[in-house]
Subunit: 202 residues, 2 copies
Amino acid sequence: MARAASTVEAGDSAERILQILSESARLFATNGYDGTSMRDIAEACGISKSLLYHHFTDKDEIFARIALGSTRELYQFVFDRLPEGATPTERLRAFMVATGEYFQRYRWAWLASTSAFWSDPEQRRQKERMMWRDRYEGLVRTLIQQAIDAGEFRPLDVPLAGRLVLSALNWMHRWYKPDKGMPAPQIADAYFDMIFRGLRAE
Amino acid sequence: MARAASTVEAGDSAERILQILSESARLFATNGYDGTSMRDIAEACGISKSLLYHHFTDKDEIFARIALGSTRELYQFVFDRLPEGATPTERLRAFMVATGEYFQRYRWAWLASTSAFWSDPEQRRQKERMMWRDRYEGLVRTLIQQAIDAGEFRPLDVPLAGRLVLSALNWMHRWYKPDKGMPAPQIADAYFDMIFRGLRAE
DNA sequence: GCAAGTATTGACCGATCGGTCAGCGGCCGC
DNA sequence: GCGGCCGCTGACCGATCGGTCAATACTTGC
């Protein structure tokens, strides 16, 4: 029975599932949700289209797994990298740099998630995903508020300042080329410097 | 005669084309390029699908007209609103506010243009569009460089600073709701204030 | 060796897509 | 009055889509 061999079976199955998710993320990131067919995914994996439906119920589930996974992991990845004893300012810098690092490392999943903004699957299920997204975005607002309370930041429209920070990070995918220019964490750090100190001469 | 969604009874071809472009922009903005079918556009206009092909060669041409038009107009709109005698700093502020104003006024076309980033038509033709986009982006870099030369800005990585400014403006479409909150030009102005002066306490 | 379960496949389905085409009807110049 | 033109239509096409299903290969417990 499958009891004793469950590890092996789960291992085989899990590897295949990981492969499907990985290839799907790459394709979604490159061609968008609607621009990627189940046939494309199957071909990229070197398997039949039917096998996709053996491991996933439908196309939406593949995408949802990628989007939810990357959104949850982004939050945890960034949260784990906030230095505990540091000032809010330094923690905000760490927030931005960690986001850049995550973006660089899991770029396909990031791109896939953000690419489907205009397609249906975004609004449909995705409730749990939005919860993690809200936590992530809440984090930056909390840090900004703490920086204000600590006197490190001047009084600000906190939601708008948060949006400025997130805009810089979230827009990176539209122009960032991994082969050339600065690595993403360094870009994030430079962004922090400009936003924190401002552009004007001192 | 059949009643249309919009009131266009006269057989004027130019008006009909404008109607098609307007409805298409709204649909592309809402559902994306792939998520909008020619049948959808025809239905929204209250006309037959065949008539679309009477006025346009294919779906791509409709989109290209919208995207090129809005990109060119954005540049001209913003360029015309840069105060001539002002300092580079004030001109950069005007650049951002004008972009917010354009975004607010021609939101559907803006959204349609940016939504198709992940679909094919973006890369296909669109050469002329990219020229205007490059001019627009070059403008912000020029203003930043002039501000540095005038001693108003500290020495900066100019392309990156330009990207920061453009990120704030370009990401607005992902969260901006026209019904509530600040109007877009005011948001752009607040962004400028934060980027120029920085977040830190003085 | 056998039964059971799982991974995997190709053939197939209805729906929808972008796009085509022959033709209809009203208006305008002659 | 009439012939050509233009805005306009519905019927239709091949391709592709997401998804289904019955059947096959392989593994594994007994």
